[in-house]
């Protein structure tokens, strides 16, 4: 098992290297130059040339790339062309916000998606099943920004129950310790601020979770229907097991295996969705940071954030494989 894990982790390196080469090339192929963008419309060519030299953008791309790799080997992701701050520091500052949002969204999607899927399968073709089908279709097909705007309007403006945007009420100025808003507020012993941070999380989490929950619900329903028709389920019922035990202990366990793969893949997709959700909800995460960087042609930030996203994606895939093995003894044999 340990050997398998070491091998899988080592296999990440070439993938990350490839990602880096692609991102480095692509970001330099998009038309437009960071110095021009940074200086805005008021700059003369002399000002632009001076800044290009200052940012080493006048050097050959290969030289820039090797310099970047050299820094990377020492854990240095370079400095943002826009702010001049170290990219790693800037990413670490924003990572907790993205993790907080996406992990909670994952939890919410699991809590909503799995029971709904199970219930729809058990009560297949009932009114509930049909209703869920319509709602999940809406959940999958509605663009995130539209759903976000709808929630902001209903819960933020009309009902006034929840804040429209932001990560905390601006009037609570808690000192970041861990970077996780709720945790920081609790560490300060400020229950009011913790609740405030929690309320701020609800809308963006819902938007981010909706897509995953809907996909997962549909998937679990179909998987459950298939499993419930299997011979071993009939045997379990024939043995006289209660329906609850049949559904949860026997059928669900088998249906969850393929669902796990879907969750892994969709979680990565959800991180992509975080870019938009973070922008709409003014959420200070790395998705938004990356989006701004692309607009500003801030090469080191584009590279750094892509690297982090790629790493999260790959680690999620690894985690899913490990969890599958834990759930399914047949898979474990291949890992030795």
């Amino acid at each position: 098992m340990a050997r398998y894990l070491a091998w899988r982790l080592a296999a990440l390196l070439p993938v990350l290297a490839l990602v880096l080469v692609i991102v480095f090339t692509l970001s330099r192929l998009i038309p437009g130059d960071p110095a021009t963008t940074l200086l805005g419309p008021g700059a003369t060519s002399a000002q632009i040339a001076a800044l290009r030299a200052q940012l080493h953008l006048d050097e050959a791309p290969l030289l820039q790339f090797t310099a970047y790799l050299g820094g990377l080997a020492q854990g240095d992701l370079g400095r943002s062309l826009k702010s001049g701050a170290p990219v790693l520091e800037e990413i670490l500052l924003r990572l907790p916000a993205t993790l907080e949002l996406s992990l909670l969204a994952l939890l919410l999607a699991l809590l909503a998606g799995i029971p709904i899927g199970v219930w729809s399968a058990v009560r297949a073709n009932s009114g509930f099943d049909h209703a869920v089908r319509v709602v999940s279709l809406a959940g999958v097909s509605m663009p995130a920004f539209l759903f976000a705007l709808l929630l902001q309007l209903v819960f933020g403006v009309w009902l006034g129950w929840l804040p429209v945007s932001g990560r905390a009420s601006p009037f609570f100025l808690t000192e970041p310790v861990t970077g996780f808003a709720i945790l920081d507020a609790l560490l300060e012993g400020d229950g009011e601020a913790a609740l405030d941070a929690f309320l701020h999380l609800l809308l963006p989490t819902t938007v981010l979770a909706a897509f995953l929950a809907a996909t997962l619900g549909r998937f679990v329903r179909n998987a459950m229907l298939e499993v419930l028709g299997d011979d071993f389920v009939r045997t379990a019922r024939a043995k006289g097991l209660r329906e609850g035990a049949v559904v949860f202990r026997h059928a669900l366990r088998n249906a969850l295996l393929p669902a796990l793969t879907i969750v892994g893949l969709k979680f990565a997709e959800m991180l992509g969705g975080a870019v938009l959700t973070e922008t709409v909800f003014a959420w200070p995460g790395i998705g938004r940071y990356m989006f701004d960087a692309i607009r500003n042609r801030d090469y080191p930030v584009i590279q750094g954030t892509t690297l982090v996203f790629a790493l999260i994606f790959l680690l999620t895939a690894l985690l899913v494989d490990l969890l599958s093995a834990w759930l399914d003894p047949r898979l474990r044999r291949g890992m030795r």
Partner: protein, 523 residues
Amino acid sequence: MVLSRRMATALMLGTALAGRGALAQSDRQARTLVVAVSSDPVGLEPAANRAEPVGSEIILNIFDTLVAWTPPAFKALEGRLATSWSISPDGRDFTFVLRPNVTFHDGTKLDAEAVKFSLERTRELNSYMKASFGLIREITVLGPLELRISLSEPMPVFLSLLAQPQAGIVSPAAVRKLGDGFGAAPVGTGPFRFRSRAADTNIVLDANTEYFRGAPKLQRILYRVIPDASTRRLELENGGVDICQQNGQLTSLPVEDIKAFRANPAIEVIEVSSQIIRQLEFNNNNPDSPVHDIRVRRAIAHAIDYDGLINGVLGGTAERVYGPLTSNSWAFEPAMREMAPNYDPARARALLAEAGHAPGSLSFKLYSFQGSLWGSVATFIQANLAAIGIKATVEQTEFPALRALHVAGRFDIALDGRQPWYNDPDAHITIGYLSSLANTAMSFRMPPDAELDALILKAQTTVDFEQRRALYQQVQRELAARVPAAYLFSNKIIVFKRANVKGLVVNSAPPLSEYWSVWKEAR
């Protein structure tokens, strides 16, 4: 069902608790001004500021400058840290007397040494100011509160530059103590002192109760970073922010939103004339382009329905502009109103025929910035051009990509804009039309023109105010004869604020607000 009831209970409980919290907060909120900005400031350091709007505005609330523009007309300078000043007859030496008993936020005293230190620091570190502050030959401290700035050549615009955020006076003691970290904890003499900054979230300033013009009425300013325009609108309507500034950007809020705000009694819309110019630019530097022919340029300029564009597409949020300077500039040539091409499609068609272009024979790519409003402007012009037999395809391009095309000269016609970063005709004319700068991003692309260049440089360096005005008026007439662009409109600076926010003074060029005089009435 049980689940949903539980959820509803939890939600209601949460709301009730939040409501209680809100009561406790209300006192704090009443004296806190929340300002929505679209992005994180690039920096809060005068010596690194490159006229980026968010950072510039915050800098002007933390730091003071020697002089500042006098509201509401913003046509004359008044003293801030300087009580008086004089300029030598040759326009090279500026002598300032400083206000006594002014202290920085760190408790140190403002003196002539601090001013010398700050301006020299900007000259050394800020590449953006190289062309202007590079002309500072020497700064001489004449006494504790008196200094002289000597330039290597006359530069009448220099005084105006001293009102800019780059010329903010910093605390030398704090710079020495913090070094590179000064930008993260800036110390000035301004009405507000820096408190904290959270990346992509907010910037918090607290009132400087010792401020020399009197303590601000507000206790705190909170800049909230909200990148999405519709979210900014919802937050303003909801009272989550007090002020939302358009900052002269077309993309900030759609015209429909502005109309909705005008109908909302809780929100006031302030509209102020700006010095921003938006134009349809011609690449007159490419001999192979049809627009190299002045008749084609004239025809296009006559094809555009300027009033229709301003009232229809822009919903009255812009004003007519007649030439290279806006009509609120002190150097504006009144004759430009008559000289500017009017909407006359028949004349446009005749000019095209004269230039030898049959209807339908000309086609262009019309480059434009992104955003729905830029798109509408481009579509409107596309229709205008179609009416005189020119086929145009609209290409909306990201800012960096459009700039790259522009610098390389790979376009015939493009929508573009100029936002002067300091209050002087020089900001539009020199950078825009000096043909020696024609291959830079900022300039109109015109062929070499020694006569015009000489006139522009003379206007830039003439010390006498009236002579200078006459020279700029001549420049405008000369440019009208050359048709470097079809000047479309000048969009107003639009600030949306909650109705209970009082005392706001909106600066027109550059559009940066100071919040010293602002207060909030109890709602």
